[in-house]
Symmetry: C2
Subunit: 296 residues, 2 copies
Amino acid sequence: MTQQTADIQHLKTLARRISLVENEAVGYEQLLEQLPAGSPTRVIGITGPPGAGKSTLVNTLITTLLAQQKTVAIIAVDPSSPFNFGALLGDRIRMSQHFNNMQVFIRSMANRGALGGLSPKIIEVSDVIKAAGFDYLFIETVGVGQSEVDIAGIADTTVVVLVPEAGDEIQTMKAGLMEVADIFVVNKADRDSADMFVKNLRLLSAERHTRDWQIPVLKTIATRNEGVEELIAAIDKHQQQINGQDRRSILMADKAWQLIQHRRMRNVNKQQLQQQIQQALQEGNFNLYRFINNWQ
Amino acid sequence: MTQQTADIQHLKTLARRISLVENEAVGYEQLLEQLPAGSPTRVIGITGPPGAGKSTLVNTLITTLLAQQKTVAIIAVDPSSPFNFGALLGDRIRMSQHFNNMQVFIRSMANRGALGGLSPKIIEVSDVIKAAGFDYLFIETVGVGQSEVDIAGIADTTVVVLVPEAGDEIQTMKAGLMEVADIFVVNKADRDSADMFVKNLRLLSAERHTRDWQIPVLKTIATRNEGVEELIAAIDKHQQQINGQDRRSILMADKAWQLIQHRRMRNVNKQQLQQQIQQALQEGNFNLYRFINNWQ
């Protein structure tokens, strides 16, 4: 068996395992329970508002890491929220130059979380991918609302990608992003307003200085491959910082909470609920809280 | 006992009941189970991006409804998300001219939903308020992300408030809001770009015409009390349309789902999870999925 055949076999096995977990097919729980305890994979969340150039940046990151003989996996999260847009599909296509590269594994996932959060499935799939031993796993989400907060619960390092611009709405969004950023990237840094924007962001992130980590604000021009090696260096530096148990257990507790919730709610079906409620409403004297207590 | 004393007594009882439910104090489940089946209260969600003038509009709605001898309750949802801002506090203060009015009940609630959704508490509290027999209950939320979608699951009529302006981010947000709007309000309609904005919005909402309801696009200038009576008329008209059982059971099923989830997860404590995980990590060979299956 050539190395390439072995690689293909490896990726096929991985794809099959992910499908098993996604579909909750027979044996998926055993598969998860048998995942090894440790993984060398750096898990990096890439988030930011639409139009910040996240996909182009991920693309450039992949190219650069491949040149360094690293292996890379990507989970691209398509929000199935009302905010889902055609632009995202465009993003997927732009990344396609890597689809057939053996060192790269790309999986697109819908954000099927019933409550707007990242799906518990993304937690499970990222753990399956980690067990495959890639050097890096990037999880890319569009930061419109809650998802950038959730990604911070899955990724070891969260990179928030912004573009230089002004406006109240953006500022609002940025404050949410501020909370989750381990690294800021100002992309499209050749724009006129870039320097002032970076300066302001540095002031803001300086306020969040901790004993262990000062959030860096990096400039990139992803389309020209500028600043990407510095970003990789910053990611690696952050990964070394977080090897302490404390942050890891907080992340794990978040994941555990979401997974427990998913499992406890698995047998609750909205359509079935609706049918039963419709019938109860017709019978009259309906009270939602009595219904819930008597339910199941 | 004068009418005013009786009113004060009534409001005090209501406030006490809400606190009981908010704190899950002894007897709160019985209280909820004894709520009457029907309520005359129209429940209206008011949502939209920050800066659209939602609070001023609610203020003007209250004034107008009071002049019509109606009683009004308001739940003002402060998102405890990272998007929470001082501006919101300003909104609360602006509404304060009604705080001592006997026909008006105002309650501020934090959005404590662990997953970014509206808290199940808001469902319960709105049901308690409905049982008190107000003519209108307004639930005001800031539409940044998911909350405007969730409000549509609680309110019978969702009013989406926008201001005339352009920009990609706003367009993105608008598409999410488009899904939930029963009525569009273009506030600050004296701005230059208002007519074009209203025209575009009418084209978009025309596409969502259903057999029973054509989403109206109304113009208001809340600060000058313009267009508010037309808005009330549109709300009342929509309320008459939705008296069918179908939509009601869908709304009820959504609420039931959230409440069931809240109850099933009530005994899961993230801090406790973290402590146990930290210990397990130290013992070595930790697997998240084995941990979850063995948990509790």
